[in-house]
């Protein structure tokens, strides 16, 4: 567990308030700057406006779902380089393959522990 302030900004897009609070708090405790969005539109707006080092994205979002965010991020030149870790409550292998083929760097299945978040994030955003 690292207390050093990394100054990297991570955006978390998740509609479940409890999960959003938990993920954001773990990231903050790990020293990241955290932005949070409860739906895809808000998420896309934030990622376009801020310089994010990483996006954590829930695939099942109300309205336009997380798949659309992933697709947009990988098709917009200014966003293409930002790594995306997706998480979802569906453990389906097809979904995992689809997400990875669309450019996600990791696919996490809920329920997630604090360590799952920490390990996945620190493997992508290096010190």
């Amino acid at each position: 567990m690292l207390k050093k302030h990394r100054k990297d900004t991570i955006l978390v897009i998740e509609d479940e308030a409890d999960v959003l609070r938990f993920v954001c708090r773990v990231l903050a405790l790990e020293g990241f700057d955290v932005l949070e969005a409860g739906n895809s539109e808000e998420g896309l707006e934030l990622v376009r406006r801020h310089k994010c080092a990483l996006v954590l994205l829930d695939l099942r979002l109300p309205g336009k779902d997380g798949w659309l965010v992933l697709e947009r991020m990988k098709s917009e030149t200014s966003l293409q380089g930002i790594p995306v870790i997706v998480f979802t409550a569906s453990a389906g292998t097809q979904q995992r393959a689809r997400a990875l083929s669309m450019g996600a760097v990791d696919y996490l299945v809920k329920p997630l522990s604090a360590a799952d978040i920490r390990d996945s994030v620190t493997s992508v955003v290096k010190l």
Partner: protein, 297 residues
């Protein structure tokens, strides 16, 4: 017996012309038989087609159901796992008040999980015809007041108002636990889809041989296209809308099954942006039945 004196039929010599006709009639009869057979085969094949479609729909429903159930069960689990590992990993860095909040969230998620499991079990019990009701004839005035007071404690942000008729209600023939479950479920829905600070009115009216209980909220209402399907199992409108409060879509289906099992009916009226009123009826018990029940207890 002479040819012309037979009492039932006449026998006469067939002419060639008649023979031709008879053959034609024979062929027609055969053809008709074949048509009937073909029609039977066609009907059978249509029946099979229908069965296949039904099976396909059922199979689609089943996989949809599995995915919904898996998602709904994992959601509270996600809170429990997340908060508990956070409490374990960062114990020394979290303030006491923050820890308390996480413990409360774990507690609420556990309740949600156990409620989901109860709903699923009730549904499958009902499907298997194993749901047992414990019907009693009882007075519900006090019971209703207690139920509403208890629900009010769960949702202090809303104003629950019980509107009972003057005088005593007639005794009802109900399964008290299931009646409680239906009312709780409907009250949960009424608050779940309404803004905090709004009113929820529970009105009880006596009809000829039944009592009608209605729950009226000032919530977002149900789109008219969806009203006919809200009592269907796993039917959820919110999945495609923003700010989905979550759920499996079992609540109303379960209420319907439970109300009907107790001999009542359930329906609703709703206007988008104005609110929803869910009404259900329960049969009235006779004074004699009440007397018996009181003597027995």
């Amino acid at each position: 017996m002479a040819k012309d004196s037979h009492p039932f039929y006449e026998v006469y010599e067939m002419k060639d012309e008649d023979k031709g006709k008879a053959e034609l009639i024979g062929e027609l009869v055969q053809m008709r038989k074949r048509i009937v057979e073909l029609e039977k085969i066609e009907a059978e094949s249509k029946h099979l087609e229908r069965k296949t479609t039904e099976y396909e729909e059922l199979s689609k429903l089943k996989s949809g159901l599995l995915s919904t159930v898996s998602h709904e069960l994992r959601t509270p689990l996600a809170s429990i796992k997340g908060y508990s590992t956070m409490l374990l990993d960062y114990d020394k860095r979290l303030r006491r008040t923050e820890k308390r909040q996480y413990l409360d969230a774990i507690d609420a998620a556990t309740d949600r999980l156990s409620e989901l499991i109860d709903h699923l079990l009730d549904m499958s019990r009902m499907d298997a015809g194993l749901l047992q009701l414990d019907m009693v004839v009882t007075r519900v005035d006090r019971l209703l007041q207690d139920m509403v007071a208890e629900a009010q404690l769960r949702v202090p942000e809303y104003r629950l108002r019980l509107d009972l008729e003057r005088g005593e209600l007639p005794p009802l023939k109900v399964d008290i636990r299931r009646f409680h479950q239906v009312l709780d479920n409907l009250l949960d829905n009424a608050t779940k889809y309404s803004e905090k600070g709004t009113d929820v009115v529970i009105r009880v009216e006596t009809r000829a041989c039944e009592v009608e209980i209605s729950i009226t909220d000032q919530g977002r209402g149900i789109p008219s296209a969806d009203i006919g399907r809200v009592f269907d199992r796993m039917y959820r409108i919110e999945q495609r809308l923003a700010q989905d409060p979550g759920g499996m879509g079992l609540g109303l289906a379960l209420c319907k099954a439970l109300v009907e099992a107790q001999g009542g009916r359930i329906w609703l009226e709703s206007k988008e942006g104005i609110g929803t009123t869910v009404r259900f009826t329960l049969p009235v018990g006779t004074g004699e039945e009440l007397l018996h029940a009181e003597e027995a207890s």
